[in-house]
């Protein structure tokens, strides 16, 4: 094999560059975000569904809510415990979780998801926009 040295150095440099994010951030994983609950959310203890369910499936739940309200004109959600909720992102979810920046955004930023709910739905019904 001719140019053996050249090829090996090239491969090594290539690997260093490609693996840059791994060796640069080695052992320094960004900490998982802590979401903050408003006093009201804390007092309620339970969301529409259990915390685990909400954590894992809130997007599916919101999707279901959207379709039920907009396309089937059904606006009331009764959870397994029999409690009724008005299916509304701004008026129900954010009424309790009125701290979007500390509650929604922290996790969404960490997971690098950018839901565009807020381009139409009012972020915070209580805060002045």
């Amino acid at each position: 094999m001719n140019n053996k040295a050249l090829i090996v150095t090239g491969v090594v440099i290539f690997l260093i560059i490609v693996l840059f994010p791994f060796w640069y951030m080695r052992g320094k994983a960004a900490p998982a975000p802590e979401v903050e609950l408003t006093p009201r959310a804390k007092a309620a203890q339970k969301c529409v569904r259990s915390t685990e369910y909400m954590r894992a499936e809130h997007m599916q739940l919101l999707d279901l809510w959207r379709d039920s309200v907009v396309r089937e004109s059904k606006r009331i959600y009764i959870n397994p415990e029999g409690k009724e909720f008005n299916m509304s992102l701004s008026n129900t979810c954010l009424d309790c979780h009125s701290n979007k920046a500390e509650f929604c955004d922290r996790c969404h930023n960490y997971a690098s998801v950018r839901p565009y709910c807020w381009s139409c739905h009012i972020d915070n019904p209580k805060e002045k926009t």
Partner: protein
């Protein structure tokens, strides 16, 4: 390696079996989850119901554009409709127009002066045969089976504007710009729209769902009536029975649900 035909077939069989396990297991877990918690979704108990919502506008009660303003304001405020100065970008759900614009055509060459000079309140007619619905490629607008409202799903609108072209009444507006900066006072109970979607009157579906009449009807002090077109005892039917009414561009066959007493 021994690669007889029999061996290869055996391997293929086992691989096929292995591939099917995951979907089967998934189906089982899904079933288990569904059994443990069931949520119910229903319409509100107070919601108003009709086969086809309709409106009767008594135009005799409006003398000038200023008389229409409170109605327009009531609607635009509650639905976060922006006020854009540029006519090309204007967003309208309900507005006042001249007789000849509301009722074009050659029905009569000469009309009573009082009628001709009266302002006419126009809005989406919630047609029984809506051409905008047929034009929509994404079903972002459709005729609700439950109450005949021609509804918009802003989530699904891709902004193609076919519906604007299809609507013979100019009832639809397009958001050429982000509307938020042009809303003087945001009603926090109702969403705004974003750049790139079409919007129009929704017959206050969100108010009907909680047992309230549309905002314009409430603000009209009796000049507007609202009710079920197919209920002979409803307010609108009573008015239609006792007054001479006209509808916009009737000959097109879209069957508008907004009637005008002239």
């Amino acid at each position: 390696m021994d690669s007889s035909r029999r061996r290869i077939l055996q391997l293929l069989g086992i691989s096929a079996l292995a591939l099917t396990t995951r979907p089967v297991l998934n189906a089982f877990t899904k079933e288990a989850r569904a059994a443990e918690a069931e949520a119910v979704i229903k319409a509100g108990a107070k919601s108003l119901k009709a086969r086809q919502w309709a409106m009767v506008i008594d135009t005799r009660k409006f003398e000038s554009e200023a008389d229409l303003e409170p109605l327009v304001d009531a609607c635009h405020k509650v639905h976060n409709v922006p006020r854009l100065q540029n006519k090309n970008h204007e967003i309208k759900w309900i507005w006042g127009t001249h007789y000849h614009n509301a009722f074009p055509g050659k029905a009569a060459q000469f009309v009573a002066e009082s009628v001709e000079q009266r302002p006419f309140l126009v809005l989406c007619n919630h047609c029984e045969n809506p051409p905008c619905v047929r034009a929509c490629p994404t079903k972002a607008t459709w005729k609700r089976e439950s109450d005949g409202i021609v509804f918009m799903d802003f989530h699904r609108c891709i902004g193609c504007r076919f519906c604007i072209a299809a609507c013979p009444f100019g009832a639809r507006s397009f958001n050429y710009r982000d509307p938020r900066p042009f809303i003087a006072e945001i009603n926090k109970k109702f969403p705004t729209r974003m750049k790139g979607v079409v919007e129009k009157c929704n017959f206050c579906a969100e108010r009907l769902a909680v047992g309230q009449l549309p905002a314009c009807v409430q603000a009209s002090d009796g000049a507007l009536a609202f009710g079920d077109l197919y209920n002979p005892a409803s307010d609108v039917r009573k008015l239609i029975k006792t007054n001479y009414t006209i509808r916009r561009k009737q000959t097109l066959g879209t069957e508008p649900s907004v009637y005008y007493i002239v």
